[in-house]
Amino acid sequence: MRPMLNSVSPFPATDPIGNRDEAAASAALSTRGLCLWYGARQVLEQIDLDVPARRITALIGPSGCGKSSLLRCLNRLNDEIEGSRVGGQVLLGGADAYAAGVVVHELRRRVGIVFQRPNPFPLSIHDNVAYGLRLLGMRRPRELDERIEAALKAAALWDEVANRLDESALGLSLGQQQRLVIARAIAVEPEVLMLDEPASALDPAATLRFEELLHELAQRYTLLLVTHNMQQAARVSDFTAFMHAGRLVEFDDTDALFTNPRQRQTEDFITGRYG
């Protein structure tokens, strides 16, 4: 289905330490000592993660380990939650996303997110994809149409909706809605696209097509994929990060992590002893 990792990856899995440094050098998004509290409860502890550019990085771990919270830190959606507090740094293109003077809504455009349940807006298919573009001030119909077509093609949805762009997006199937939401997210050209268990609402056939789509997207975008499905992580991703109880336990080349985990916790999780 996809080329073997070891022959393609620029980061051979032989030396874990060197691997990390190389990953950091080409990282689209990095965190340094990232901590998150909801009120008095600490959800994330000292996360140091480098998400390599134009690769698929999977985040795995048991439920409630902080995977989704981590995603929401990276585009500052946690800012909307009262009582949330963030420590450490999120580096996007080398600049701290939490520095003073960062315009939050511009940051969010650069870090797109697709949620677990597809959340199309109650607008037409066309207007769903146009939403982010219009926020950027794009008004000319021809320009909009071109960008919308490109986004829908990239999300492998164009052929199915090309002749009904003016129909409500709520009438699409769940799988189509999920691809529409992806088209909406990539229409504004984010630097990183985060997907929070995007396939959990899809049936197996749609999941398979969805994973193929992820590979195509990875040619152009940096993908960060939260999944609770370890097979999926193993199938799809180039790198995998294992989280447990708010900590990043292990991060490595996917093949290396699944075949030769360095941490006992990781081994227990991927062999199904808990989680």
Binding site: E82, H105, F115, P122, L123, S168, L170, A185
Partner: protein
Amino acid sequence: MMRARAGAGGTWLLGGIAAACIAIMLGLLAFTLGSGLASLWPTRVERIELRGGEILFGEVVESDADSLILRGSEVERIGEGYRRLRRADIATRNAPPDAVVVQLGDGRRRFGAADMEVSLAAPAADGVAEVLRPNAMGPFARTGVFLRNLFAFVATPPDASNLAGGVLPALVGTVTLVLLMSVLVMPFGIATAVYLHERRGPGMRIARGAIDTLAGVPAIVYGVLGLGLFVHGIGGGVDRWFHADRLPVPTFGSGGLLWAALTLALLTLPVVVVSVEQGLARMPASLRAGSLALGATREETMWRLLLPAARPAVLTGLVLAIARAAGSVAPLMLVGMVKLAPASPLDGAFPYLHPSRQFMHLGFAVYDAALASSDVIRGVPRAYACAMLLVCVVIALNLSAILLRNRLRDRYRALEP
């Protein structure tokens, strides 16, 4: 839960109560419509010969066991032709087919036999509106007269006594007032609801409580507020600043359409706020998160996504506001509603809408015809007719808003939880 425990008997009871409610509502509608329309139906002209030899023509408007009331010719002024006749005094009573009713332009009616037609009309030859022989008419001709009466009622102005003529200015006043009120209340209501939705904290709890309380304040209190705040306060200020040359004749400093519309807007603000806020609260959190994630600010999310998606709730608020506003008459008496307005607030002269002018209202026409009229026997059926028209106006306004809302609701159905 209650139904399950109450069993079949309970279901019947609840069903019966619901049916009774519907029956009462339909009965009210039917009664208003029936009484209102009946007053426009052509009545028959009777010829009554008394034992003394006197011959009378007229309409029998009321009767009981031993007497009846006849409306005879009104020679000088409207409402003067009534006579109570004891049945014992009546020698013969019939409805000759050639009996004539002459309808004068000011609402007076004269009755007589066919050969009297010329003399009946003569004193007011220029004011003759119609000469009818109702007794000779078949059902179709009567229906024709009825439809003509209905049209005249809806489409002509009243005479000075508000006993005859139509109610066009009151109809125009009512509709204009409600529409102007809607235009005023919606932006304020939506803005307030958005603010309450976006802000949280103890202050907002108090604000919300205050709005709920406002919904329960009696309407007349709003009238006093409107008089003090809008008419005397703002209106007086506007006059001092912009129309000082015409003082002491007030321009905006007396009751008028604008102040009445503002008063009604204040009255209906709570229902709009509550309805819109509930609509916003029903929006799934994922919509908001999705919009923010695309780089929208909170304001952009509200105005471009949440509020448009909550349009059905906004229109529900509008429906409730119209229903409340169209039925409120009491506060209007203080802020510019009059029995007879010298000029319509809506006319063909630029700027077409004259918000400072006094206006007439169907609700007040009901009251005036029923209780303040110099001719009770004419007034009460007229009150029914006005009430019927008012009900029709409210239904028509509501229906258009509801149809609009249902169209939008179909589009957003999949969003409903």
